[in-house]
């Protein structure tokens, strides 16, 4: 009896030891992630396949709110903490924390060939060669309209080459006829304003390449946005209801058919396909025009490797897998994201949708890429672009609610950008 007990105890201890041993042999990688739509589920499925092929590596996908990516992750990284890999949108702003994967990936030439133009968005000024990650999606900003409302109101949608004034007028007409609360809504984001401002002639940079946010083009677009908020074309609840540079999206209002025209971007496609479906015709339209261009802003989210990782080789292995053509084709196809992989963009993606609205939106935004202004590309790649976006949206918001005049807001925008960049240059 005593021997049996001793035997059982010994076997139990041995089993525990084996388990612990296995756990010790397994490398755990942490990936911080946020969702626009269903991409978290898709990524989890892909990671499960990677783990099956690589049983010594376990990948934990930490899905966090987007706000945590913007506000908490930078503080973690500044403190020397943080995950191995993260999905980020402040591509240049966080570049000092990225790991150069070049020694750990199997074919750097493949990365340059397929992600080349976007790799520089991830590099620090002066760096021309590091490889830190790839785009989980390329995005383009642009408007959606509720086409069903236009049909019900019997108002013609403005055609190719229409201006923002044309669309504002048509949207207001539809809203007035059908008693829709919000004729036009834009996400409360400087990134959303930047494309139309560039269409109005904004240059964003001076001759020396330094940020010059406020010029005639930006003033023109900002004044339109101000006027639309005063005449009811845009509802003050969105831009006027919070302070500072807080992000607020109007996607829920649009999905609930409370908005006629919604300025957002291509990342909403999977969400709208899922939430709206065929409840009404949500229709992507080409970027309205200004005197200088008919452009949106490029952007996107990137999956990057971080210097805080203690497992660079495993991270390299995982990133090689995730960036491979087959895996990315599956990812883009299921998530309905515009590919940020040049080879796949050329070949085309077999998007997993029969929804004609989603297909139309995908082709509209893909077709918009060639007409994106070079200024927009430069702005997207500028390391301090969020300083400019935040100054723009926060001060314009204060003008819209009457705390500042427009001229005071423009002065404050310039001051905010100068002060913040000066502080950054002091160290860090």
């Amino acid at each position: 009896m005593k021997n049996k007990l001793q035997m059982t105890l010994a076997m139990g201890v041995a089993a525990l030891g084996l388990m612990a041993g296995n756990a010790l042999a397994e490398t755990e990688l942490r990936m911080t992630w946020y969702n626009d739509g269903i991409e978290g589920e898709v990524m989890r499925g892909i990671l499960d396949k990677f783990e099956a092929d690589n049983p010594d590596i376990k990948v934990t996908l930490d899905v966090v709110p987007y706000k945590a990516i913007l506000e908490s992750l930078p503080v973690q990284l500044a403190a020397g903490e943080g995950p191995d890999i993260a999905r980020v949108t402040d591509l240049g702003g966080l570049s000092k924390y990225y790991m150069d994967l070049t020694p750990y990936i199997s074919d750097p030439a493949y990365w340059e060939a397929n992600f080349g133009p976007f790799l520089k968005w991830l590099r620090q000024p002066g760096d021309t060669s590091s490889i830190s990650g790839f785009m989980t999606q390329l995005t383009v900003t642009g408007p959606y309209v509720n086409k069903t409302l236009f049909e019900q109101a019997e108002v013609d949608m403005p055609g190719e080459g229409a201006t923002w004034d044309d669309w504002a007028k048509a949207s207001k007409e539809v809203a007035d006829k059908l008693d829709i609360p919000i004729p036009m809504a834009w996400d409360r984001s400087g990134h959303r304003v930047a494309g139309p401002a560039i269409s109005m002639g904004a240059k964003m940079f001076d001759a020396d390449g330094e940020p010059a946010l406020v010029d005639d083009g930006l003033k023109l677009m900002a004044t339109k946005l101000y006027d639309w908020h005063q005449d009811g074309t845009m509802a003050k609840e969105l831009w006027g209801s919070v302070s500072g540079s807080q992000y607020l999206g109007a996607n829920e209002d649009f999905a609930n058919a409370k908005v006629v025209m919604y300025m957002s971007g291509s990342w909403q496609i999977p969400q709208f396909a899922d939430k709206i479906g065929d409840a009404f015709d949500w229709w992507a339209v080409p970027a309205p025009c200004g005197p200088a261009a008919c452009t949106g802003m490029p952007g996107g989210a990137s999956l990057v490797a971080l210097k805080t990782s203690k497992h660079p080789e495993e991270v390299g292995k995982l990133m090689d897998y995730l960036s491979s053509e087959d895996v990315l084709a599956e990812f883009y196809g299921k998530t309905l994201f515009i590919p940020g992989h040049l080879g796949l963009a050329a070949k085309g993606i077999d998007f997993a949708t029969d929804d004609p609205r989603a297909k139309h939106a995908l082709s509209t935004f893909s077709a918009a890429v060639p007409s994106i202004s070079p200024i927009a590309f430069d702005l997207q790649g500028y390391v301090n672009n969020r300083v400019m976006f935040n100054a723009l949206i926060s001060r314009l918001g204060e003008a819209i609610v009457g705390e500042l005049t427009l001229d005071q807001a423009f002065d404050r925008m310039t001051q905010d950008v100068e002060q913040q960049i000066a502080e950054k240059k002091r160290g860090g």
Binding site: E237, S241, V242, S245, V387, L404, E423, G427
Partner: protein, 343 residues
């Protein structure tokens, strides 16, 4: 031992046995500590022993309160965006200079850090109204709950319940009530009125920020005042009744003076808490519209954490200024309660 004695003996010995089992680890601990403590007492003398006993708590307090205070002050005299102090350049009082750089202190738009001064004035407005209302409603509620009313226990719990809720939960619930399509506007529309866009109006936003804060916290202060009311000897009221004293006179001559120590605690606690308001209002209004409900703590948070350029130095300077204000309020409380004790 007689058999009939056994059950009683057992029942008497059971609690003793339980006590002995519960006390055993404490006894063991004291036995272990006895030797070094006796040694310390021999070394330092009995007068030093109380300080030894409060040392662990003091160490904890020092590590998590005092040390961060000094670190924060150190941040406030540095610049740049690095997180580690040794990587940050020393700038002296420059950050404080930025905060107090104003053409006219009464007009935030003339200040370099206009949002800081908006925060100061908004906080002042909030504190004035919120503290006044919370003291008033807590007192009224405590007076009512001190009477013999039906369901008194239920109402005491009901008024205290919001205190137990997370500030985020409180703010979200009220936000949903106050939105354009919320319950309140649905009611207004049902009675033939137009909906009100509360979060677009600075006045309404401030009103609801104060209202929600009072609603969420008054239960706590009601309990403090209720305890004070219950400590007033009933003989005084009986004597007043026998004298035929009017109710208002009883309230102002007996209740209020005897309740004053508790009122002072409530006022100071409410003041200190109100100056630090952040979470409820941040979720409810986001500080908007514009900067209408942006308070000091939100300014500190935004400056130090949510902007792309995280200006830790400026945020630290603003929090030092806030800390000084709170310190002054605490000194006022100590002075007022000392004066009362002397009286």
């Amino acid at each position: 031992m007689a058999l009939e004695d056994t059950p009683r003996s057992q029942s008497e010995s059971s609690p003793s046995l339980l006590n002995a089992i519960a006390a055993w680890p404490v006894r063991v601990l004291f036995t272990i500590l006895d030797v070094p403590l006796r040694g310390l007492q021999r070394l330092l003398g009995i007068r030093a022993m109380p300080y030894i006993f409060i040392l662990p708590n003091l160490a904890f307090f020092g590590l998590f309160v005092v040390v961060p205070l000094f670190i924060n002050f150190a941040f406030s005299v540095t610049g740049g965006t690095n997180l580690y102090l040794d990587e940050r350049p020393f700038v002296g009082l420059e950050q404080y200079g930025f905060l107090f750089d104003c053409g006219n202190y009464l007009d935030p738009t003339t200040c370099r850090e206009d949002r800081f001064w908006h925060g100061v004035f908004n906080t002042f407005t909030f504190v004035f109204f919120q503290v006044s209302l919370i003291v008033l409603f807590s007192l009224i509620t405590a007076l009512i709950l001190n009477r013999e009313i039906r369901g008194r226990g239920f109402f005491r719990a009901a008024f205290f319940f919001p205190v137990l809720l997370s500030p985020v939960v409180v703010a979200l619930i009220w936000k949903w009530i106050l939105l354009r399509d919320g319950v309140l506007n649905a009611f207004l529309v049902s009675v033939g009125l137009d909906p009100i866009l509360y979060f677009v109006s600075p006045a309404w936003s401030m009103f609801w920020a104060i209202f929600v804060s009072v609603w969420a916290h008054m239960g706590f202060y009601t309990l403090i005042l209720l305890a004070g009311l219950q400590a007033i000897p009933p003989d005084l009221y009986e004597a007043a009744e026998m004298d035929g004293t009017k109710r208002e006179r009883v309230f102002f001559r007996i209740t209020l003076p005897l309740l004053w120590p508790n009122m002072l605690v409530v006022i100071v606690l409410a003041l200190i808490k109100a100056v630090q308001i952040f979470d409820e209002v941040f979720v409810l209004t986001g500080g908007g519209p514009g900067t209408a409900t942006q308070f000091i703590v939100q300014y500190i948070y935004t400056t130090g954490f949510s902007n792309q350029v995280q200006n830790f130095g400026l945020a630290a300077a603003a929090s030092v200024v806030l800390g000084v204000v709170l310190f002054v309020l605490t000194l006022l409380q100590l002075a007022a309660s000392r004066r009362k004790d002397e009286a």
